[in-house]
Assembly symmetry: C2
Homo-oligomer: 408 residues x 2
């Protein structure tokens, strides 16, 4: 008998019928002899409906009140799922984030989980009940309702699994696992039976929408065994593993890409200590997240500095950068919104030379010009013109034989 | 500077535009120099939407989960109203029932308020904030979400006013006060400037939908000054007063009626102690509320026993009564669903003879047969055939000169 935490996202609970289907899946796990804690998102469309209501009231709704509003979405789902379970003769109890004391900081709309009091859930499990918890939400020290930001339900599930020392945390979604790349771009993309945490982290942060990056970090930190499965099909999904040195790792596990990038460059700034902070400090203060940062070797006494942001933040970032350029007497600022980032991810990369050159050759063979390059231990990212996205990803998928590369 | 509790019902907050309108009314009160606590219901239609979702899952949804579900309705409204207030530069904070510790028993879907911890609201008021509280909901000792049943928002408002020792509790609704009777039945019906708690209690319990009866009881018990006003029109509304012996009371304040009655009679039961309990006990156990109860003087050793219930409960009550009749060897049971109750209400009735005879004559003049009569200190109720409702109410309104009788 194991303790399983299952998380079902918005599309998995999008209608009453789908909620009934989730109830059946939960019961199947229960009948296999396991204790189950279920985390659910808002029914798909519901969060958007609530956000739309808020936007009718104010362009800049008070964050505290925004969280009070949108947290109702998950509350509706937990109640309906618990009803569906009870109706089938399986005692269940629903809890909001506040009720199971998912304690967070008070950064409304993007709070971070600090602590969870698992005693109440434990009591229900001991009494033979299924526990249903609202994802995405918690409370701060003063009892104010907080939310974890979009996709936060994954994080809730992993955090509960960690607090309860669950045997496995299963993330049910509308895909049946993690793929070598997006099958919509590369039809031959294949499902991975397993992927390491580090790889998953890079895949998630690079735009693979399967798992929220914070959830993966959390799982890695607290040693939570994590699995991604389909709500709609049977199958083993993809297990997120801790790296096993004995295991032969494939060189590349997958190809991630991100369409929503934009790059900004400031040219001819003084090449002196503190300059990066002067440029990026004001960007950070405006709550704009910076992804890649590249500074070339200085020519004479000035240097050029390029960074990428989410495309939605481009205009705001450009306004700030132009202001900074004036203050620094920079020569020029420029930018481009029509770019994408493509990344190879694989822990095997560490021990295999030549990955980068294979990558660059594959792209060159297709006539794709590389605008920026950035690397980490298990990842190589390139920025290319948006129009080359599909061509580039397909070329790389083929160059690294990923169609057959799924780890068994 | 006074402390005012204002309550706005579902139709008053039915759209974002109406919520903005409520914000303006709250601000007007604030600008008049008062502290304000606002209680709101779910946007009209929202509770029905949620109930419909529940009914799609189960015919008999778990009451605990039902409350988790429907309590989201008010939570949406408090967030939107607080946003609207903040946007206008008036700091506001929203709270669910749980958050301000509206402690109730655990009778899900119809919980009763036991206690309120007003300290958190007091802190906000002292800091110059407007406090916005979700009506209709609370939490039990274990922190489970409870609801007070439909219309419970009035009760929340009065309970908060009592806990905070507010100077006035204002119930904003879609009518501009309490009328001598329903203006849809009697166009000459006039608004009362004031009505006593006892009268209001009788009016409310007899089907005047302006105020929830539990709210009136609560206000009477805790000495809360209560006023009914329109959300949509300016005006003083109707003040619910404590009876003042010095004041000349009109004989009759109003005429209430109830279309939803049904009567059941059991004939030829043994005339012995405990018989009423035997008949009504099983009705009560089935959670059917009994309104009028009439037992005639016994003829020989048996007696007849008649009572009224809500029309929706008629079939269920009849089934139970037939069972009881068998056990008691009663001669017969009968019933009628096509009846209504019409009541005269007025504290002045106590000191004026002849009210009953004026009433009976007015009805007789119209050829209306009285089926049942029941009286209390400040009320006379008669049951008549449903078809006579409008005719009877108009005849009585005229017989007691109520068109001009509004208390000034």
């Amino acid at each position: 008998m194991a303790l399983i935490v299952q998380k079902y996202g918005g599309t998995s609970v999008g209608t009453v019928e789908k909620i009934e289907n989730v109830a059946e899946k939960v019961i199947a796990t229960r009948n296999a002899g396991h204790d189950v804690v279920v985390v659910v998102s808002a029914m798909s469309g519901e969060t958007n409906r609530l956000v739309e209501l808020a936007s009718q009231v104010s362009d800049t709704p008070e964050p505290r009140e925004f969280d009070v509003l949108v947290s109702t979405g998950e509350q509706v789902t937990i109640a309906l799922l618990s009803m569906a379970l009870n109706k089938r003769g399986y005692p269940a109890r629903s809890y909001t984030g506040s009720q199971v004391h998912i304690l967070t900081d008070n950064a409304y709309t993007k709070a971070r989980i600090l602590d969870i009091d698992e005693s109440r859930m434990r009591g229900d499990l001991d009494a033979g009940r299924i526990v249903v918890v609202a994802g995405f939400q918690g409370r701060d020290e003063q009892g104010n309702i907080t939310t974890l930001g979009r996709g936060g339900s994954d994080t809730t599930a992993v955090a509960l699994a960690a607090a309860l020392k669950a045997d496995e945390c299963q993330i049910y979604t509308d895909v049946d696992g993690v793929y070598t790349t997006d099958p919509r771009v590369v039809p031959e993309a294949s499902r991975l039976d397993s992927i390491t945490f580090e790889e998953m982290l890079e895949m998630a942060s690079l735009g693979s929408k399967v798992l929220q990056i914070r959830a993966v970090e959390f799982a890695g930190k607290y040693n939570v065994r994590l699995r991604v499965l389909s709500s709609f099909e049977e199958g083993p999904g993809t297990l997120i593993t801790f790296e096993d040195d004995d295991m032969e790792q494939p060189v590349i596990s997958g190809i991630a890409f991100n369409r929503d990038e934009a790059k900004l460059t400031i040219l001819g700034v003084p090449d002196q200590p503190g300059i990066a902070h002067q440029i990026l400090g004001s960007i950070g203060e405006a709550n704009i997240e910076v992804d890649m940062i590249i500074q070339n070797i200085a020519a004479d006494s000035t240097t050029d500095f390029t960074f990428t942001v989410h495309r939605n933040d481009y205009d705001k970032a450009m306004t700030i950068l132009e202001e900074t350029a004036k203050n620094l007497n920079a020569r020029e600022v420029s930018g481009d919104k029509a770019i994408v980032k493509v990344s190879l991810v694989g822990v095997g990369m560490r021990s295999h030379a030549g990955v980068a050159s294979t990558m660059f050759k594959a792209l060159a063979d297709e006539g794709i010009n590389i605008r920026m390059i950035s690397t980490s231990e298990i990842k190589i990212s390139v920025v290319v013109d948006e129009k080359y996205l599909e061509l580039g990803v397909r070329a790389l998928h083929s160059a690294f034989d990923l169609a057959e590369a799924a780890v068994e």
